[in-house]
Amino acid sequence: MIRYEGKTVIKLTVNGSVHELAVRPSDLLLDVLREQLGLTAAKPGCKNGDCGACTVVIDGWPAKSCLVLAVEAEGHAILTVEGLGGTAAVQRAFVEENAFQCGYCTSGFLMVCHALQTQHPTLPEEYVIEEWLASNVCRCTSYEEIRAAVGRLYPPEDAP
């Protein structure tokens, strides 16, 4: 059985690289990513699991990193916007559709959309897309453009 007490060194796999980090068991993944690894794409918003600005992808599924302990992410593959490399399909789609205004929520939306495309390589039903996108909030209300960006991830020939 694993037991961590006080500051402990753990290994986290982030964007394909293994990092040794000294964390407290109560440290949140969001804070560790931002403050120890300097990966500031995941944004602190509500810090209550509501807004989705801190969304990262863990083992292919979206997760709000404000609601994940860093220690429990051990042994799992964590992906942040920095790991998308700037040229991922989802990033190109957001640029092409101008799917942002202030940009604060964009990282979270990018990760949700990237995970959606990973889990649903072919066009899912509309309610599935709506369900996934409803996990995040955009206070600039760029929802139409974000939905259009998701459309670009699925060319018409992918439609069932």
């Binding site: 007490e5 997760a63 609601l67 302990l69 996934w132």
Partner: protein, 279 residues
């Protein structure tokens, strides 16, 4: 951030988890079991709880089961709502899981966490109450299965250190006609004013409710009225609404009076669908 430290344990077996609970309690750590973590982390950050230790059950194989055999369906307590949804093993459970929180949080919230949570709605209990589910627990009496209804009276009644391993549903529950209606004040993703789950077994309607009162419940008296075909639908709805086990719950999302209004509307929809064979 969480403004205090705690011990984090990740047991690999049921026995290790229970022993860890006893050990940490003896150390004065006031431990809590942990799986998805969304409620524990939120309450810790808000200062509502301050456990000295959390015991993460996610890696215990028995808590991760997700299977169907000829007679039963099994859902490990550490399975996420999304796991259960994606499995599509029990349509009514799929529907209920799909209306709790948002999709990303469904990828973290677990079945056990929802059932044992302090948030009063615990909507995953509704199909379990209706389908005569069994729940397997681990604690001082070892591993043992009991009827879900015997340990759930609005919230889980567990002994100190005891935890849920898995929930079992009979195969018929996957085939039974069913219905789920969740009414919220404004947004689709919100706590319910009324969350109603219904199953039809042997031509009889079974109904469980969350959001109407301060705890979720299934009531034999309400079901008797709803199934009394000698009464009009309107009389059945009025009769059922008069049989709530306590005054309707009232909070900022809706007064008790409003919840009863929404409940009647929801029951009307259900009974009309049931009488028209649309369930």
């Amino acid at each position: 951030m969480i403004p205090f430290n705690f011990v984090y344990c990740r047991p690999a077996t049921l026995e290790q988890a229970y022993e860890a609970f006893g050990q940490l309690q003896a150390e004065g750590k006031n431990p809590v079991y942990y799986a998805g973590g969304s409620e524990v982390i939120t309450l810790c950050r808000a200062g509502s709880i301050a456990p000295g230790a959390v015991i993460d059950l996610k890696e215990i194989p028995e808590c991760r089961v997700l299977s169907a055999d000829r007679e039963d369906l099994h859902f490990g307590a550490a399975r996420t709502l999304n796991d259960i949804k994606e499995s599509r093993l029990v349509p009514l459970l799929t529907l209920c899981c799909g209306r709790i929180a948002d999709h990303t949080n469904q990828c973290r919230i677990t079945l056990g966490g929802n059932l044992c949570g302090t948030i009063l709605y615990r909507e995953t209990c509704l199909p379990l109450l209706l389908a005569d589910a069994t729940v397997t627990l681990f604690g001082g009496r070892g591993l043992h299965a009991v009827p879900f209804q015997s340990v759930f009276d609005g919230r889980m009644q567990l002994e100190a250190g005891e935890f849920i391993v898995e929930v079992g549903l009979p195969g018929w529950a996957a085939q039974a006609p069913h219905w789920h209606i969740k009414r919220t004040t404004n947004e689709k993703i919100d706590y319910p004013l009324v969350s109603l789950a219904a199953l039809c077994k042997d031509g009889r309607l079974r109904v469980a409710l969350s959001g109407v009162c301060s705890y979720p419940f299934r009531s034999a008296e309400i079901e008797d009225v709803l199934n009394d075909s000698s009464l009009s639908i309107e009389r059945r709805v009025e009769g059922a609404a008069a049989l709530l086990p306590e005054p309707a719950y009232s909070d900022v999302r809706g007064s008790g009076q409003y919840r009863v209004f929404v409940l009647k509307n929801t029951l009307q929809t259900l009974l009309e669908a049931f009488s028209n064979d649309q369930i």
